[in-house]
Symmetry: C2
Subunit: 489 residues, 2 copies
């Protein structure tokens, strides 16, 4: 068999094993018995070791040297496999497996520390993770920038310097917009209690409205909303807070955006390197545009207003206009995942700067809580009241996900570019959204972005779909226009 075919057959099994690892993570968050964590840590370590050994298998290097792709698709396959091979060959198996084991155990330690508001209970574990991640990043960077190497795991082709420049362009306009908005009276939110079962009923309705295919997926309640898996098995979770049904609504739409991306990829790419979303930033562009530009649009929120009254009865909101204001309310708060469109990226900038400092060694884990609290006070103007509202709020660092946070903002920026182009292509979109029909928008995104999977590089697929090089300008213009109108600025 030609080297290319040998390589693809080998890679197919590797992809299948990677899907298994994803399924185990899903299980851990949703189904796993509480006291199985220790054993699961070893199981994750074992499958990660197998994956690492396969990705760095010397035969892969030999096949890569000899493989002759027969098409652009074949070339894209090789690009992904080569990237994985280079990465895996640079990271010693001991380190990969130790990181898998540690982060699996760390999840429980972080969760308990957050529950008990005890930063000190998590700090030593995080210090171990940071040490291992620095070791890994240095091995990957080979003299280059360690943080760039981490970012490359989630957003290949984007550098920390590019991200920093992007944030520099965004910060002044977002700070100004935030100040102007918070200066105005806040619209009313929801009052009352919204039973969990009904929230899940609404969540399922929303998932269907956004085209999520439940024959190849499922929706469960979990502590943390997430999407997991590719191809024919893409699962999402959401959460319910009896006092805040919007949390469930927008978490669901967000995760459906991720899942729809995976489900929308050309089926011919199943269990190949092209059969997965191409980067975290592009992934987030889909979840964000579903959640915000579509889900929080004036047109769609009119339909959602009716759905909520259908599911919950009277929700104490008098009009579609008041409802639209409520789903777009800008408020003071501590939590990134609850942040509105105006403030969200400010939360990311804080994390980006702190984790860059942790990785460069400019900041010690022992000083992280203080650094977080100082920066938060400076950026938001009020003090963090407890660790679960501060340094312990996010799962990412416990999972070793350094270099991941900026992809959220890249996703917002990409979503801004895509939204501008989509609106130009679909002048009558709002009429359909007002009926709860997201079809024109989700079809547009599927055809322009999702179907390609890993065929193009991240910035390339966004540029092709939106007709411009990725830039924060459309996002900022959209935010200024939307919130300018909402808050009468």
């Amino acid at each position: 068999m030609p080297a290319f075919d040998d390589l693809m057959a080998f890679q197919r099994q590797t992809e299948a094993l990677a899907q298994i690892a994803g399924r185990l993570s899903w299980d851990q968050e949703t189904m796993m018995p509480h006291s199985a964590a220790l054993q699961r840590g070893e199981e994750m370590g074992a499958i990660e070791a197998v994956l690492h050994a396969r990705r760095s298998d010397p035969r892969v290097g030999e096949w890569l040297a000899k493989a002759r792709p027969r098409s652009a698709v074949g070339k894209a396959h090789l690009r992904h496999i080569r990237r994985d091979y280079d990465r895996a060959s640079k990271v010693p198996e001991r380190l990969a497996s130790e990181l898998a084991r540690l982060t699996s155990v760390a999840h429980g330690i972080w969760a308990q520390a957050r529950r008990e508001e005890d930063w000190q209970a998590f700090a030593p574990t995080l210090a171990q993770i940071v040490a291992l991640k620095r070791e890994e990043a240095q091995a990957l960077a080979q003299g280059g920038d360690a943080y760039d190497a981490m970012l490359g795991d989630y957003e290949p082709g984007t550098t920390a310097a590019q991200v920093a420049a992007m944030f520099d362009a965004m910060r002044p306009r977002l700070v100004a917009l935030r100040a102007a908005v918070l200066d105005k009276p806040s619209p009313k939110g929801l009052k009352g209690v919204y039973p969990s079962g009904r929230q899940m009923k609404l969540a399922r309705r929303l998932a269907r409205a956004f085209g999520y295919d439940l024959k190849t997926g499922r929706l469960d309640k979990a502590v943390h909303p997430f999407s997991s898996g590719s191809g024919l098995d893409v699962r999402i979770t959401t959460r319910t807070n009896p006092k805040d049904p919007f949390n469930c609504v927008y978490s669901t739409i967000h995760e459906v955006g991720h899942a729809a991306y995976e489900q929308g990829i050309d089926r011919a790419y199943l269990l190949t390197p092209l059969g997965r979303g191409v980067s975290m930033g592009v992934h987030e562009s889909q979840s964000r545009i579903y959640e915000n530009q579509i889900g929080r649009s004036r047109a769609f929120s009119g339909w959602l207003y009716d759905q909520m009254r259908d599911v919950f009865g009277d929700i104490g909101v008098k009009s579609e206009g008041a409802f639209y204001a409520a789903v777009n309310r800008v408020q003071k708060g501590y939590i990134r995942t609850e942040a509105d469109e105006v403030q969200y990226n400010l939360h990311i900038m804080l994390r980006f700067d702190l984790e860059r400092a942790l990785i460069s060694g400019d900041l010690a884990v022992a000083d992280l809580e203080a650094a977080w609290n100082d920066r938060f006070l400076a950026d938001f103007g009020y003090a963090v009241d407890k660790p679960s509202n501060g340094v312990l709020q996010d799962v990412h660092w416990s999972a070793g996900l350094f270099g991941y946070f900026p992809t959220y903002s890249l996703g917002n920026v990409y979503a801004g570019c895509l939204h501008q182009a989509m609106r130009a292509d679909l002048p009558k979109l709002d009429k359909r959204l007002a009926k709860g029909d997201t079809g024109p928008a989700t079809d547009w995104l599927r055809g322009k972005v999702q179907v390609h999977g890993g065929l193009y590089e991240p910035r390339e697929v966004i540029a092709m779909a939106s007709g411009i090089e990725p830039t924060p300008e459309p996002l900022l213009a959209y935010l200024e226009e939307k919130f300018g109108a909402l808050y009468d600025l």
Copy 2:
């Protein structure tokens, strides 16, 4: 590192990967989206290929040659690893993978044939499976008895000749007992409808009553009841039939028996070859003694009677005595999994003789349906009315599980031996069972059998626990006494 330690470190990862494969099977039966089956097939194929490669890895052979165990525990580890290695090395990978592919396809063909009552639609596939299994057994037996080699996969240390002698001793007494019982009027069963949700509530109560640890386990509803996993993550399923709550009750207790065995193994053996139940027969001895000798005892059924009335209200049974008769009702039927204690082993004997003849070549698959029907008529006294009540009723052969059926009867026989010894050790057991307290019995089983995991050979652990060499005598005496009293023989 000494070879022994290298081997054990390698084996630990293999054990963890085997646990993952088990978790995937659990997921497939309980949680997996319907249309993910195709992808899951490739995932299972990939992990099985990894497991086969590890079990037959040449390094394992080298380590085994050099390893010097430092204790009886170490020797037992090597015994298990050597057995797996010998097995994996003797079966050519082509054959293993062809069997995996064929049996995976065969499952759907068997299920459809059963649904459509069409034996001919399944026969050609079964013929292919038998041919491959014979080839595999000959490779394993290396001149010895092919069926023994198959049995060795599930019950190492027991031969087909031993099973045949056991069945010869059991058959006349079971046939006589069955005839005498069926000659008497049948006690009343349950009438009415028992909601699924309440059955699951009762199932959870029963699981706790039998000491199932839900912190390292979980109980779900599925099409087929099963237990899955070892160590800190042992999950069970049960099923509910609105007209037959006993199906749920005794499926649950049965699976709790399997799960309690896995949960009861010395935690020091976690993720080692000793950290799993030692054989299918010993496994079944635990599930059977939980289900029958404890769960269907007069004392425990008194408590269960109260529980059922508590959960369902009036169940139309007037007394504890009538309830005890109802849970031990002996009735004509076709289906092994629905058979009572008196008739169950007759179903197994039929399968044992037929599959031995298939493997020896004395019986062709083309003649299997006729042979089944002839034998059933001879043994049970009435004719099979349709294939789903006869040759197509069990999944086992479609999965290539030849040599598996006799372990069910071995389990019953072992349970009989254990029960005799346990009753001698615990004269006041019934007083506790009457209060729903299974503690003395389950503690006895844990200490005598479960805690040892794979430390001893199957017959050895039963002999140590029961004080006698395994023999059907105690089981037969127990059945004759119990059903003699119940049916006034």
